[in-house]
């Protein structure tokens, strides 16, 4: 295992210390329990957004704390969802009297820990609504399984709901917007290489020199299919087809196209992926109204990418364009 770390045990603590030193102008980092919070929290009268999840997906979620996006984020150990006491502390720290939204990616661990946290804070009188993100079409959805994973749509939801909260929209509207984003977004990921959890010390899975894994999650969970390495044209088609067919996205639709790097993929490749995606969508008569290209929801040093499409309307577009000032996403201010 080759990483720029000291002790695998201290990875998250030292990362948080780096974030605190780097972004003290915008965020405060609390240790024990760990959470990252806007320096101006709680913002009175504003719905507060709290998210969280395992570490190793940076900039998500800590990098999305700030004006126009999250009020707080709870980082767990690497790839391990955080604990209820973190979420409880973060929720209390950001509660500005207008209610708190928990943005929860649909993983058993995240769901159960956020559930326990919500039970705790509700019993103490804070109004909390939970929203689930489950946009990953690589996973079959069913009442009898854990359901789809939450992946790329999380970033879009945090941005869009964050803008709505910033406009002082009420709790119900913010929650409805979160659901609208989730309902209109679909994603799929793939990996060229595995990643290595620091504490595990070896790659989560092994891929041959000529193999790719399609339908990968963001925790190094193996995907559903292992295929021979193919030109990116074919790979994008394999990812975009189930995305488009699932919603379905139709001719005439406007979308936000999000090409996400898994952590070890250079930007040059992401632009090539985006180029293929744009051609693919041209062929389906789908217009790209907005785009986001880069490593925003990562899997440590994994090489690979994911594609997320979000069907846009004027409301979502305006909220996407609204100012945001976080370490990981910034414009308009």
């Amino acid at each position: 295992m080759k990483k720029l770390i000291n002790d695998p045990e201290n990875v998250v603590r030292e990362e948080l210390s780096g974030i605190a030193r780097a972004h003290g102008d915008r965020v405060e980092v609390h240790v024990d329990p760990h959470y990252i919070v806007r320096t101006d929290a709680p913002v009175q009268g504003k719905v507060a957004l709290v998210s969280g999840g395992g570490s190793g997906h940076e900039p998500m979620h800590g990098g999305f704390v700030g004006m126009g996006m999250l009020d707080a984020a709870c980082p767990g150990e690497v790839f391990t969802s955080p604990t209820p006491d973190q979420m409880e502390a973060a929720t209390k720290a950001v509660d500005g009297g207008a209610g708190v939204v928990h943005i929860v990616k649909n993983y058993t661990g995240d769901v159960m820990n956020f559930e326990m946290a919500a039970e705790l804070v509700r019993s103490e009188g804070t109004e909390v609504e939970s929203v689930l993100v489950d946009d990953d079409v690589a996973v079959q959805d069913s009442l009898y399984t854990a359901g789809r994973r939450g992946v790329g749509a999380t970033v879009l939801m945090e941005k869009i709901a964050g803008a709505a909260a910033e406009q002082r929209r009420p709790l119900k509207e913010v929650v409805d917007l979160c659901r609208k984003v989730n309902d209109n977004a679909r994603s799929m990921g793939m990996a060229l290489t595995s990643c290595t959890v620091p504490a595990a010390g070896k790659p989560t899975f092994e891929l041959g020199d000529d193999e790719v894994e399609i339908g990968i999650g963001i925790h190094g969970e193996p995907g559903r299919q292992r295929l021979k390495l193919a030109p990116v044209h074919d790979i994008v088609e394999m990812m975009a087809t189930p995305i488009v067919d699932d919603l379905p996205f139709k001719s005439g639709d406007q979308v936000l196209a999000f090409v996400n790097g898994m952590g070890g993929t250079p930007l040059i490749e992401l632009y090539i992926v985006f180029n293929e995606l744009a051609s693919f969508l041209d062929g389906r008569g789908i217009a790209i109204g907005r785009n986001l290209i880069g490593p925003y929801i990562t899997s440590l040093e994994m090489q690979g990418c994911s594609i997320t499409l979000l069907k846009l309307d004027d409301e979502l577009t305006d909220l996407w364009d609204a100012p945001v000032n976080t370490p990981g996403l910034r414009w308009g201010v």
Partner: protein, 213 residues
């Protein structure tokens, strides 16, 4: 023929030991169908539990187990944290105020614990989760105690049933937890949570059973 507060402390320590010794193999199992952290997570949790236990002076087994549960909830994270946390919280609630446990107490506690895991995780048998080790363990324990078998034997049956349930997860296609994302590809691998649950039942049998022989 009763389990004392000290026995319970020895059991927790034995479970922590077993987790420490199987940390890598649990994580390996989790690499195959999950995200390679189950051993690491449980080890972090049980290390925190040991640190907490050092200062415990009371004789209340319920309070002890509640502390274990709270500590697991706030240190493990992932799926394991809430599930094992709830398990121990329910064990503790069922043992509230008790300074000794009879075999019936233990049956009632395990029954409450497993119920907690199921109400938290919504998993059914054959979903390929820790429930597949816990339910057979609870059933074997309950029927052995009901049949009047010696407690040590009942504990041994319950550990054996957990082991069998754990092995029976191998061919299953997962329907809950991270492994469910793999669909058919999850078959052929033993579930990590079922494995740690077997360790839990095995160490209980070893600690409480040994004491009683």
């Amino acid at each position: 023929m009763t389990v004392t507060h000290d026995d319970v402390v020895r059991w927790i320590r034995a479970f922590a030991d077993a987790i420490a010794q199987n940390k890598d193999s649990l994580t390996d199992l989790d690499s195959a169908i999950g995200d390679a952290d189950h051993g690491i997570n449980m080890h972090r949790g049980m290390t925190a539990v040991l640190a907490k236990m050092d200062g415990d002076g009371s004789a209340d087994i319920g309070a002890l187990l509640k502390t274990v549960g709270m500590t697991l909830v706030s240190s493990v994270g992932g799926a394991g944290g809430p599930l094992y946390g709830t398990l121990f919280l329910r064990l503790g609630a069922a043992a509230a105020g008790k300074e000794e446990l009879t075999d019936e107490d233990w049956v009632a506690m395990v029954t409450a614990g497993v119920e907690g895991v199921q109400s938290r995780g919504k998993a059914e048998p054959k979903d390929k989760t820790m429930v597949d080790a816990l339910i057979p363990a609870r059933d074997a324990l309950a029927s052995a105690v009901a049949a009047g078998e010696p407690f040590a034997d009942a504990l041994r049956s319950s550990a054996a049933a957990a082991e069998e349930g754990m092995r029976a997860t191998i061919p299953l296609v997962a329907r809950k937890g991270r492994a469910s994302y793999l669909g058919e590809r999850s078959a052929g691998h033993q579930d990590p949570g079922a494995t740690s649950s077997w360790l839990l039942m095995r160490t209980a049998a070893e600690t409480f059973g040994d004491h009683m022989e």
